[in-house]
Symmetry: C2
Subunit: 185 residues, 2 copies
């Protein structure tokens, strides 16, 4: 089908209804007017947004957390991350999740970029950071959270991404963004 691209990307939102309130996210049915005037119903997962942080220790190792993910039916290796609390800044969220999940805190949390994980159906946006100058504190996991903290060199972490051993998108992005920053220096 040929389309006139001059018609431009002129979509209009015409209201959304909550169809299911989940534990972590909410599912809406959204009414959209297409550029040609037709109406469609599209999915919209509402997510509060969150932050994810790549922890770097004094020997330039990265700390990753191993945890179970029911959606994937497997254990994944990820950087510490979590949802924002109401009104919470991305950086504050990153600092909190770092300490809760790894038992280290940092006063040096540096932005790497942003990530929209699932643009086709979710409004989730994650702030991505790295943190160094780590200080020992103590882990403080959520009640339904079990996590193992693992340590890898940056090279090992990059290799695990390139070999498909790390597939979590925020972790892939943060490791490769950090490696890119180091390379540009």
């Amino acid at each position: 089908m040929e389309k006139n691209l001059q018609q431009d990307l002129n979509y209009t939102k015409c209201g959304a209804e909550l169809v299911y309130q989940g534990t972590a996210v909410s599912f809406y049915k959204e009414h959209i007017k297409l550029p040609d005037g037709r109406m469609v119903e599209w999915d919209l997962i509402q997510h509060p947004g969150g932050a994810a942080v790549l922890p770097i220790d004094d020997e330039e190792n990265v700390l990753l957390v191993e945890q179970y993910r029911n959606a994937l039916e497997r254990i994944t290796l990820e950087i510490p991350a979590g949802k924002r609390e109401a009104g919470e800044a991305y950086e504050v969220c990153a600092a909190r999740e770092l300490e809760e999940e790894t038992g280290y805190y940092s006063e040096h949390i540096v932005p790497l970029g942003k990530s929209a994980p699932a643009v086709g159906y979710s409004n989730e946006v994650l702030g991505l950071f790295y943190a160094d100058h780590l200080k020992k504190s103590c882990q403080n996991l959520d009640e339904d959270e079990w996590i193992h903290v693992k340590k890898y060199s940056l090279t090992e972490a990059v290799n695990m991404v390139m070999q498909g051993k790390i597939i979590d998108s925020k972790t892939v992005s943060a490791i490769l963004m950090y490696a890119q920053c180091k390379q540009e220096k």
Copy 2:
């Protein structure tokens, strides 16, 4: 709260109910038995999986598609991507989406890795590829799809990722994975 990590990551799936059938994804409520025996209900978005492909032209430019995303209420720059059809191989899906969205086809579609965009609530897994030796064909967009094809050098694309101008996670991952491959050569 202190937890015994020796208890391990022993979660058990105990059934899931469809609570809403969306247009692109389905929303399930899943019953999970935690490592300590308690039962919880977690969200599960069922997605058929898909593929995304970074097109590289003969001058080493990358082709990106500009499109409207209702979930983010904005226009994004992304690599061509789409859901798998029933039983479709990731690579076949990548080739199809490349041609439909950009109007180029390629017989040289190379795996870059995999990405799980939203491990906290979605079972979506994307195969990531790059494609070169592009041949002109014609665009064939879905009925509700309007897209502009844009061309950038690889350096420009990497810079747009690092500056937060490209935030779509599959696009961030594929651009940085490809840059990493080139660097390793």
